[in-house]
Every structure is written in structure tokens, then in C-alpha cells.
Amino acid sequence: MADGIRVVIVDDHSIFRSGLRSDLDDTVVVVGEAADVPSAIAVVAETRPDVVLLDVHLPGGSGGGGTGGTEATGGEDVIRASSSVPTRFLALSVSDAAEDVVRVIRAGARGYITKGSSGVEVSRAVRAVADGDAVFSPRLAGFVLDAFGAVAGETATVDDELDRLSTREQEVMRLIARGYAYKEVASALFISIKTVETHVSAVLRKLQLSSRHELTAWASERRLL
């Protein structure tokens, strides 16, 4: 147990925290909980966990993160304030409002899963994030294909181009959108799981760094991710 992945759960609903806590499997150790932005920042700084399970919407945030949103997505504030701590963030959201999820991912979260996911799924995602991988849901993959113009046939010609996806990245994203697990993606494309993870991480990096205006435009227009 001592060598399990150390996790902090940040969510303003205590019943959800305790529920998630009991659902997580043995490889995950919960070292702290927090219910709002200031306490989350304090707990993360104190316990220095491997992974923070972070609700996208938290009370006590600065409000909208400077982008003029109507609702404060406190999750974003927690990530920005904890930049000095070497910890990884996995966003948990009950909302499918794409602008909120994309905002938290652009702030630095390594992935996003919905709160309806089972304990097994959350544990698996926590392990993936702890290993430095990105966690993509089918919806997020579909959104990425849309936002990077892959559906319209735009393809990156250079590997490090930030505003488009390479052919391989598009293939991986399409399979994830179709509901394939990483292992299934790997065998479908005849590549190793490690390569799949590399591609997914590259897409996550593009999602975080790209200045493509469609990212936010699409997100707010569609509402659904």
C-alpha cells in the first residue's frame, strides 16, 4: 500500500468524495481531500500527491479564469496555483460543457473523465496519468478531431506542427472516438501500446499549446464534447 499511487480528491461534494474513495482500487492511496479552491491548493502543496482528481467546477475560484466565463471553473485555478508542485491532474467533470473541460485541459490537466465512470475506470485513468500518459475519452477524441480540422481533411505535414494533427494521430484519435481502448488501438494499427501513448500525449500537448481559434469557438458553440 505504501508504494501505491498517492492521490488527492478535490470535489465540493463530500458524498461524491467518499463514494469515489471507496471505489478506487488498491493501487491507489487517497492521501487527502479538499472541497474548494483554497483548501485544494493547500492540500496539494502539503501532501505533494502523484495525481490530483480534480472537479472542473469548484467554489472559491477567481471566477471565469479571466476569459469572461459566466461560471467560475475553480479547477483551472487549482492547476495554475499548483504549478510549483510536481503533480499531475486528472479532470473529473459532471458537465459535458466543452469550454470548461478544454479550459481545464489547457490549464494543464492530463486528461478528463466523466463522473459517471466506475471506480475501475477511474483507477485505470489514475494509473495512466501517474505514468505520464494522457487520458482521452471518446468524446474528447471526437472533439479534437473536429477542432483540429481532421474531419475537414487537414493534416499536419511537419511532425511538430501545433495546429494540425498528423495522419497517425488522426488514426489514433478516430479509433479512440470509436470506443477503442489503447490496447485495441495498438493492435488495430499494428503498433505498440507505448507508441499509442506517445501519439495521445502529442495530441494532448497540441491541445494545450495550439492557438487554433476553433478550439474555443467549437467548444462554446457545440456545448457537448
Binding site: K115, G119, A152
Partner: protein, 403 residues
């Protein structure tokens, strides 16, 4: 008119029933949307089954009998509703101009009297002012919304009426100073008229403003409620799904409720567009209620494919198969581009061999593969021990293969 009084009406109806077994139902008393003035005479004529000319003549005769007709006209106008309809009500007679003309004509004797002096000055001032104010108010409140006339017409009429009132004021002041008119207070009448004329504009503005405010308040309340529900009910529903296990009865119900609530919260009053992805989402929600299955529908790109199309029908069949035979988690991915539309339906069931399906089972062969073939597209069914995936592809004619 006697038939209109409440006590007379049932009596007349009873008499009518005795004379004719089935009296045709009277059309309701409503003013038509396209009227000469306000539609009172026409509406009344329709209601009573009398010719319009007779009703109009009756109104005029009654108006001459001490103004009873005018009162009755006003009463009908106030109480009879406009006939239901989409277009804004319009009147064909230039009522505002007629009233303005009356006021202008009144200026002539007024000028004469103010110079020479004589009886009736007070009455003419009052009538002229009244006509000018009525014209201005009519233009501001009624003609402004009339598509035939519009706000520009209203401005012109009101300016003309303002000029008339200023002249009346000047003549009254002239007559008062020369002492031909004893009542100096008379100059207050046109000034008051002018004030009413100017303020009638404010009524329209205020109406617009309060309408907008009402709308904004409604939206704010809705947003507030959405935020509250998001924090409470949606969280609870997520928790129920989380604790209940993916395909348990409770989790499925919670998921259906969550979907419904979310659609109401975020899609608002906009009518649901019946494109392919919306339709498949709705179908997935319906399937989740009937089968132990969780269907995740992901859509990318914009699809022009209609929900009533063959692709949608084939996709629904594939989803139904997945829900019925595999259950558990089902993923649906729709990608629509310029070249056509791709639909993937993937389940994690035990899989099946297409060749082993009895030929009398039409689901896969006819509803999915045959449908797409007739359409000029392709349907591929890949089945293995880890699940089955149906890939529907419908290409548009002008576009070739897409990367």
C-alpha cells in the same frame, strides 16, 4: 344591439332553436387583423351575420344621437379581441392623417375668431387640440406597428400635429393678450396637448423596454436554475450511476434522467434539429431504457445527412442489434465531412459469424448491408471474440474517396 345584452342572448338562442333545429354556430366576436380603422364594424357584422354597410350606418346614426354610437364603438374596440394570426394588425384608412386634417381645418375659424373675436373660441380650441393629440397618439401607438406605415410615417404625422398645436397655442395667446378671450388659462390646453403628444412616444419606448427586461429576467432565472441543478441534481445522478454499476437498472434510469435534464438545461428552447447525430443520440437514450446497455454517441464534423435517411435507419438497426445481443458498453461514432458520412457502431459482446446467421434473420443482411448497398455506400461488419463493429459509409456522388 339588443341581442348583445346578456339577458337577451339566451332568449334569442332558445327562440332560434325552436325555429331551426340546428342553428349554425355564430363566429366569435373578433376584430379582423386587416381592418379599415380598428375592425369593430366588420367584426360585429361578421358576428351578427349582417352586412357591414348596415352596421357602419347604425354606428353613424347612433353617433349622431348624442354620441351613443361613439361610446358603443369604443366599448367594442376595448373588449373585442383581435382575430388570432401572425401578421401585425393593419388598418387601411389613414386615420392619423384624417384627424390631422380635422385639426388643421379647425385652425381657420380659430384664426378668424382670435382676430375678430366671437363666441365658440373655447370649443374650437378644445376640439382642435383633441384632434391633433388623437392623431399623434394614433400614429405613435397604432401606426408605428402597422407594416404599411411604420415609424417614419409616425414621425411625420407627429411633427405636423406639433405644428398645429403650436399654432393653436399662438392664436390662443394672441386672443388672450388682446383681451378678446376672458379665460387666459385657455393657453394651457394646447400646451398640455403638446406634452401628451411628446410623451406618447415614451409609451412605445417603455413598452419595448419592459418587454426586454422581462425577457432578460426570465433568462437570468433560467441560468440561475441551471447552475443550481448542475451543482446538485446532476452531481447526484452521476453518483448514482457511479455507485450503481454501468449497466444496472438504477444507473440506466439515472443516466436517462441526466440526459433529459441536460438537454433541457443547455439546449434551451431551441428546437432540436433533426440531424443524424441528434437523432442517434435520442435513439440511444431510448435503447438505454429498454436494454441493459450504455451507449456513448460521439459526433465529429458537420453532417448534412438527414435523420430520416437510409444511413440513420441502418445505424439505428446496428445500435439495436448491439443493444439486444451484446449489451454493456456500446460506442457510436459519427463523422460527417464534405465527402460523406461514416458511422461506427461498436459493442463488446461475444461476436458472431455473419455466415452463421440464419437466412431468415433479416436484421443485418437487409436492414444494414442491403440498405447501404442500395444507397451506393458500404457496410462492413467486423466481428471477433472481443466485440463487433459495424462500419457504415455513405459517400456523396461528387466526392471520391476521402483520406
Amino acid at each position: 344591439m339588443g341581442r348583445m345584452t346578456p339577458s337577451a342572448a339566451p332568449e334569442a338562442a332558445r327562440a332560434g332553436r325552436r325555429a331551426r333545429p340546428v342553428p349554425p354556430p355564430r363566429p366569435p366576436l373578433a376584430r379582423p387583423r386587416e381592418a379599415v380603422v380598428a375592425g369593430v364594424a366588420e367584426g360585429l357584422a361578421r358576428h351578427l351575420g349582417a352586412p357591414v354597410g348596415v352596421v357602419r350606418a347604425l354606428f353613424i346614426v347612433l353617433a349622431l344621437l348624442g354620441g351613443a354610437g361613439i361610446l358603443f364603438y369604443a366599448w367594442c374596440w376595448a373588449l373585442a379581441p383581435r382575430a388570432a394570426g401572425e401578421q401585425p394588425p393593419t388598418s387601411s384608412a389613414p386615420v392619423a392623417w384624417i384627424l390631422t386634417a380635422c385639426a388643421a381645418v379647425g385652425l381657420l375659424p380659430l384664426a378668424l375668431l382670435s382676430l375678430v373675436g366671437g363666441r365658440g373660441f373655447v370649443t374650437i380650441v378644445a376640439v382642435t387640440t383633441l384632434a391633433a393629440v388623437a392623431a399623434g397618439v394614433w400614429a405613435a401607438l397604432i401606426d408605428r406597428r402597422d407594416p404599411v406605415r411604420g415609424p417614419r410615417h409616425a414621425t411625420v404625422v407627429r411633427s405636423a400635429d406639433a405644428v398645429v398645436l403650436v399654432v393653436v397655442f399662438a392664436l390662443a395667446a394672441l386672443a388672450g393678450r388682446d383681451g378678446r378671450i376672458a379665460d387666459v388659462l385657455l393657453i394651457v390646453v394646447p400646451v398640455a396637448g403638446l406634452a401628451v403628444l411628446l410623451s406618447s412616444n415614451l409609451v412605445g419606448k417603455w413598452r419595448e423596454l419592459s418587454g426586454e427586461r422581462d425577457k432578460r429576467i426570465r433568462e437570468e432565472q433560467r441560468a440561475e436554475m441551471a447552475a443550481h441543478l448542475h451543482d446538485s441534481v446532476l452531481q447526484t445522478l452521476a453518483l448514482i450511476q457511479n455507485r450503481g454499476g454501468a449497466s444496472s437498472e438504477v444507473a440506466r434510469l439515472a443516466r436517462a434522467q441526466e440526459r433529459e435534464l441536460r438537454a433541457w438545461l443547455y439546449d434551451g428552447d431551441q428546437p432540436a434539429d433533426s440531424d443524424l447525430s441528434t437523432d442517434l443520440r435520442d435513439y440511444a437514450a431510448a435503447l438505454e431504457l429498454d436494454y441493459p446497455v450504455r451507449i456513448d454517441v460521439v459526433a465529429a464534423g458537420t453532417s448534412t445527412e438527414r435523420a430520416s435517411g437510409e444511413v440513420a435507419a441502418a445505424a439505428r438497426e446496428a445500435m439495436l442489434n448491439a443493444a439486444r445481443h451484446a449489451g454493456g458498453e456500446v460506442s457510436v461514432y459519427i463523422e460527417g465531412g464534405a465527402g460523406g458520412v461514416d458511422v461506427f457502431v461498436r459493442d463488446r459482446g461475444a461476436g458472431f459469424e455473419l455466415d452463421h446467421v440464419p437466412s431468415d434473420r433479416l436484421g443485418v443482411r437487409q436492414s444494414i448491408i442491403g440498405r447501404l448497398r442500395r444507397l451506393g455506400g458500404t457496410a462492413t461488419v467486423t466481428s471477433g471474440p472481443t466485440g463487433t463493429e459495424v462500419h457504415l459509409r455513405s459517400a456523396r456522388e461528387e466526392a471520391g474517396a476521402r483520406g
